[in-house]
């Protein structure tokens, strides 16, 4: 006698899956969701203010006092000298621009592709973009040294009658980063308007009422207002994606356009873009974990499914990063150029060899070892830990490219190991300022786009097919 089919070894876990574990299938009345988000904003513990105070003190010391010293006494306080004129300030610039990429990536690309799980965390990611770019901008100013002469880069006549040279990648950088900062801030603000109107409606008197009233611009939600808003958001979602790609490509050209060994690479553009997404996606995981753990009611909005989505993207991006890293590694390895080979050997076997191995472990080994498993991806603290390690790895990658990379050049008599000095407290200052801005924003603006969550919940329903309830999505947009 033959069997018709082999029996399953064990029942599928999915058979017992409750669809209501997904936010889109677990709707609450809009008024209740509004109340939850507002309560989360206005519930602050003493620990919150203690942490805020500590961060503010760090910012005042490192970005106030230390920067003042750097301006008054000059770049001699930093570790930069021949041949390492590009040090940690530029590492931080590239790092923070990278962090800023995930906001746009998650919000714009997932919006364009209509990925529904994006809805509750797009704003948290967009906010990262704006605050990350603030740190990137500050880091460039630190590197500039004589910050009061920044206007020399603007296309206005100055007393020296020298106009900015648009042949230079540094000028392309200025244009691209300015465009990205302005556009991503506008893109953050647009979907915020209906939530600011909601906050206005639910706030009774006081300065906060005026704050929301002014920022909500008089929005009511008429047909015309929604049409204008969604049209503008669609334009931004499509247009900001190529700008995002262009920004980090241009950042890579700051290096690749030079004839320095180790930098002059045709693959640097896409390699930098994917690196930016790698660190940015990881930062989103950290931010979501922190928000979920610290903000009241956020466990309703940010769920295991969202960590799963981020985790899958992190794994995918990690693989893509490894592919581009290998591309960038292979050519100097086999290419036979003496100087390229020297840079590579110095990076791997020089005094900072452990940074190279740490980078590879953090960027490839850790994510690949953990993120393949759905259960682990859905564990918030574990995903945030992987995210933290990826960010350590990505910061080290920029450190290896910039100050370590410039140590080896075609003039061996200038070779010198770079050691950061005042850069260390100022770097800590940028991290403190990022966290401080984020913490203050979490108490002022709704970090959950409630109207987008409700819109998604209205469009989702469960349909009985056979013995199962399956998710169905209606095209209501």
């Amino acid at each position: 006698m033959t069997s018709i089919a082999k029996p399953f070894a064990r029942p599928h876990a999915e058979e017992h899956e409750d669809p209501r574990q997904y936010l889109m299938h677990d709707p609450l009345p809009r008024g209740q969701m509004n109340a939850m988000v507002m309560e989360a904003m206005h519930t602050t513990s003493p620990i919150f203010w203690v942490i805020t105070g500590i961060l503010a003190a760090i910012v005042v010391f490192s970005l106030g006092y230390e920067w003042y010293r750097l301006i008054m006494e000059g770049q001699g306080l930093a570790g930069v000298t021949r041949p390492d004129y590009w040090g940690v300030f530029l590492v931080n610039t590239v790092f923070w621009i990278g962090i800023s990429h995930a906001g746009t990536f998650i919000s714009a690309i997932l919006r364009v592709l209509k990925v529904e799980s994006r809805r509750p965390f797009t704003r948290a990611a967009e906010l990262m973009t704006t605050f990350g770019l603030v740190q990137a901008g500050l880091s460039i100013f630190m590197h500039l040294g004589r910050v009061w002469l920044v206007y020399w880069m603007f296309p206005i006549p100055n007393e020296r009658r020298i106009w900015p040279d648009f042949h230079s990648p540094l000028m392309w950088d200025l244009m691209a980063i300015t465009t990205y900062l302005l556009c991503s801030t506008m893109y953050l603000f647009l979907p915020l308007i209906p939530d600011l109107a909601m906050a206005r409606d639910r706030t009774q008197g006081g300065w906060l009422k005026h704050f929301y009233r002014i920022l909500a611009l008089g929005f009511r939600g008429t047909e015309g207002e929604w049409k204008n808003l969604t049209t503008a958001m669609n334009i931004f979602a499509f247009a900001i994606i190529p700008v995002m790609f262009s920004v980090h490509t241009i950042v890579s050209w700051d290096f690749a356009m030079a004839t320095r060994p180790g930098w002059s690479s045709t693959v640097f553009g896409p390699y930098f873009v994917i690196g930016a997404l790698h660190s940015g996606m990881a930062a989103v995981a950290i931010v979501l974990f922190l928000l979920r753990s610290s903000m009241k009611h956020y466990k309703y909005f940010i769920r295991a499914e969202h960590f799963n989505t981020i985790g899958m993207l992190m794994l995918l991006v990690s693989m893509a990063w490894a592919y581009f890293y290998f591309n960038d590694y292979l050519v100097p390895w086999y290419g036979g150029d003496k100087w390229d080979k020297l840079v590579q050997e110095y990076t791997e076997k020089g005094p900072l060899w452990y940074l190279w191995y740490t980078m590879l472990i953090c960027n490839i080994v850790v994510p690949w070892a953990i993120l393949w498993n759905k259960k682990w991806r859905q564990t918030p603290w574990l995903l945030a830990s992987v995210g933290l390690l990826i960010n350590v790895g990505m910061w080290l990658e920029r450190y290896l490219i910039i100050p370590v990379g410039v140590t080896i050049n075609r003039q061996p008599f200038t070779w010198r190991q770079y050691y950061p000095r005042i850069e260390i407290p100022m770097t800590i200052g940028t991290f403190a300022l990022f966290l401080l801005l984020y913490m203050l924003a979490s108490r002022l603006i709704p970090l959950i786009p409630v109207w987008e969550v409700q819109e998604g919940q209205e469009a989702h329903m469960l349909r009985k097919v056979g013995k199962a309830e399956v998710s169905t999505l209606s095209d209501l947009e």
Binding site: L217, F219, S246
Partner: protein, 174 residues
């Protein structure tokens, strides 16, 4: 003295709101004399409303074309006016021109789309308006004008369609 009254009908859901709008059309209220106010965007076809007109895309395209000219001015106009000779480099380079022009075009497109959203929506506007905070809590409001003498007929018909309340509305500060 005005011979029309402005009423605000509140609905819990989209279906009764669509039915209420049907009733208003049957009573001869023109599309331009009604407005739907909601906490989420609602496709016009769901409520049987004509598509809302927006000029945001056109304004954005205008901004993009301004951006093209600004980019071309930066990359070609400035070196033309103030030539800066750097060894071996072209004064009017094409690749660099593409980069700067691209960035300025996108900045123009998005900047003007943002401004266009303000202009087309009449933002910012802090004057009193017909509104109730229940809308941002998920209710659908239909705002319309009707002849003052026939007010009761409209209220009754809309309540029959499922309106929770139909009341004369006065403009208030938001």
């Amino acid at each position: 003295m005005s011979d029309t009254t402005t009423l605000l009908a509140m609905f819990e859901d989209l279906e009764p709101a669509a039915e209420g709008l049907d009733k208003l059309q049957q009573f001869g209220v023109k599309d331009q004399d009604m407005n739907v106010i909601s906490g989420i965007p609602v496709k016009n076809t769901i409520l049987g409303r004509p598509p809302a007109i927006t000029h945001v895309a056109r304004i954005g395209l205008f901004g993009a074309s301004l951006g093209v000219f600004l980019g071309l001015f930066f990359i070609y106009g400035i070196p033309f006016l103030y030539p800066l000779l750097v060894g071996g480099q072209a004064i009017f380079p094409v690749p660099q021109g593409l980069i700067i022009t691209f960035e300025m075009t996108m900045l123009g497109l998005m900047g003007f789309s943002f401004i266009g959203m303000f202009v087309d929506s009449g933002f910012p506007s802090y004057t009193p308006k017909a509104y109730t905070p229940e809308i941002s809590d998920g209710k659908i409001a239909v705002l319309f004008s009707c002849p003052t003498g026939e007010q009761e007929k409209f209220i009754e018909a809309l309540k029959e369609a499922g309106a929770e309340s139909v009341e004369p509305v006065e403009a208030r500060h938001l």
